[in-house]
């Protein structure tokens, strides 16, 4: 009953241009406040570095990815991890205010929940590999680097969206 009521009460999302402009102000505030932009994938890289360093310190130190996060103050004191915790808090607050928090597996009607979760996990693995070689993801490269007119960021942005558009027809069944 309560989920039924929540679903009925859920408000529509904001205008994308307005939400985007607000996001741009947040990004600009980050530049002005601490001289850096937003990010996400780095938090996963530093957490992975910390976990591997705890179990296999030699292998962690040998990795060009992990070694970067093992310098002082260490992988558990990463700015991006704190920022991402904030993202989760902010997202929950926004969704709660609009009646949009709901325990669910979001999927196409033809797709089983197990298939959706497998695709979600596999997509996550692929994005991790991509973010390692790209030195960032949609937040740190495409958005932040894009606003700072970095050549590599625009290259990443273009290749990412072109690839997603090109592969979308193969995954049509998973999304419609």
């Amino acid at each position: 009953m309560s989920t039924d009521r929540a679903a009925r009460a859920a408000r529509a999302y904001s205008d994308p241009y307005l939400a985007g402009a607000a996001l741009g102000v947040v990004l600009l505030a980050a530049f002005v406040w601490i001289g850096r932009g937003l990010g996400a994938s780095g938090a996963f890289a530093s957490t992975a570095a910390g976990a591997v360093a705890a179990i296999a310190p030699a292998q962690a130190a040998a990795s060009p990815l992990f070694a970067h996060y093992l310098t002082a103050p260490g992988p558990w004191f990463e700015w991006l991890s704190v920022e991402l915790l904030g993202v989760m808090v902010g997202a929950w607050c926004s969704a709660a205010l609009a009646g949009r928090v709901r325990l669910t597996v979001e999927r196409a009607t033809d797709l089983t929940p197990v298939s959706r979760l497998a695709l979600a996990f596999g997509g996550g693995v692929l994005m991790a590999a991509g973010a390692v070689f790209a030195r960032g993801c949609t937040s740190g490269q495409a958005l932040t680097g894009g606003a700072l007119l970095s050549v590599g960021s625009w290259l990443f942005l273009g290749v990412t969206f072109a690839t997603a558009f090109a592969l979308a027809p193969l995954l049509r069944r998973a999304w419609t």
Partner: protein, 192 residues
């Protein structure tokens, strides 16, 4: 006034409040835009819903213009901003893998956090995949070190590459965004 107010290299203790406040605002804006929903996010790749493009380009243009004008007026030291380094070939390959992962998962690392925080189990599985992938790729990367570090160009910007004034490139990006918005609106009107 001279910004940045705190140096990019400052200790975490000094930048912690900024991390939390900026993170909360970032998450709030993403959720408001509907980008915590995988089905809404991938709608773009099927020509149904271009929210991703509209949100991203609006944000990019606002931040870019803000940096440009604050720098012009001398209120922001643009040279103190951290510009991501360019590695041409690794980043192109990274985009290929990331794009494939994006359309498979339906969420990116940031929006997966939004999805998970708002009760979606698929978002949690994207986060698990990201973490597992980072462990695996991080361990294997030692065998690809030469490629990983190849074609390094440092902090390299479009005005430097194209040999154009910064203002010219900024104006071109604004025009590009407006054209992209117009094309998106046209596609959305045609969608069933």
């Amino acid at each position: 006034m001279s910004a940045p107010l705190v140096a990019e290299s400052a200790s975490l203790a000094q930048t912690l409040p900024a991390a939390l406040v900026i993170g909360i605002a970032f998450g709030f804006a993403l959720e408001r835009a509907g980008l915590g929903s995988a089905r809404k996010l991938v709608g773009q790749f099927y020509g149904r819903d271009f929210a991703v493009l509209k949100v991203m380009f609006s944000a990019l243009v606002v931040a870019m213009l803000g940096v440009f004008w604050l720098g012009r007026f001398g209120w922001l030291d643009v040279d103190a901003l951290y510009v991501p380094q360019t590695f041409v070939v690794p980043q192109a390959l990274g985009g290929l893998m990331f794009g494939a992962g994006l359309v498979t998962a339906g969420l990116c690392p940031g929006t997966a956090c939004v999805s998970a925080a708002t009760g979606r189990i698929d978002g949690v599985f994207v986060l698990l995949g990201l973490l597992g992938g980072m462990v695996g790729v991080g361990l294997l990367l030692v065998h690809f070190r030469a490629f990983y570090e190849s074609t390094a160009r440092g902090a390299w910007t479009l005005p430097e590459w194209l040999g154009l004034a910064q203002g010219t490139v900024v104006a071109a990006v604004v025009v590009l965004a407006l054209v992209a918005f117009a094309v998106s609106e046209w596609f959305e009107r045609r969608a069933p």
